[in-house]
């Protein structure tokens, strides 16, 4: 899911509780105040929304099947995002922690490399730079 409002991590966590799940892993990718030795003011994300939402849903469904998760969800925020705010959140619930951790990492790595979402770093010196993920296509 793509959202423009702040991601509510507490609500995400609340929705993930399942009686059969002994482990819930919540990952929040947050805006860091520095990048390549430059001071970051804020990030701005944009997405090709219809394709991004379809791709994220497919990745989450793939993880649910592969790890037999009780629950999984992924949310990416777009627009202007301040330092320490969450830009992306992934939550996975499984009977056991190993599977919950593994599936969570699988989902975030695929989101970063495949989903048509882009970040622009805005630095405190007024310059900006479009991001490049190491593992992007």
């Amino acid at each position: 899911m793509i959202v423009t409002e702040p991601i509510d991590l507490a609500t995400l966590l609340q929705q993930a509780h399942r009686a059969e799940a002994g482990a819930v892993v919540l990952f929040s990718g947050e805006v860091r105040n520095n990048h390549k030795n430059k001071s970051v003011n804020y990030l701005e994300y944009e997405a090709y929304i219809p394709m991004a939402e379809t791709a994220m849903e497919a990745i989450v469904q793939q993880a649910i099947q592969q790890w037999q998760l009780q629950y999984a969800a992924a949310v990416h925020r777009i627009g202007k995002i301040k330092v320490s705010e969450s830009a992306v959140a992934v939550i996975t619930a499984h009977a056991h922690r190993n599977e919950a951790y593994e599936a969570n990492q699988y989902i975030i790595e695929r989101i970063k490399s495949e989903v048509p979402i882009w970040k622009c770093e805005h630095y405190t010196d007024g310059t900006h730079e479009w991001g490049k993920n190491e593992r992007s296509l």
Binding site: G29, Y45, E46, A47, Y48, P50, M51, A52, T54, H76, A87, V88, I108, I111, K112, S113, E114, V115, P116, I117, W118, K119, C120, W130, G131, K132, N133, S136, L137
Partner: protein, 80 residues
Amino acid sequence: MKITLVTFASLKEFLPADTEITIEQQATISELRRELVQRIPAIANILKSSRFAVMEALVDDETVLHEHEIVYIIPPSSGG
């Protein structure tokens, strides 16, 4: 024929997000890539690693374009 290009991220700094261009009838994605590099050499590298989509589906280099189609140019992802 005329087609519309929709660009994102760093590509927007070279090609406005919504640009109408005229290309040869029945041009393929690969011909469109060549045409764009010829017009704007600075985007050669980004285009090399970009994917193209028509009607919300990725298309390959051999796909033939049609009049008035909207072509989305998708640079490498940098979300997360």
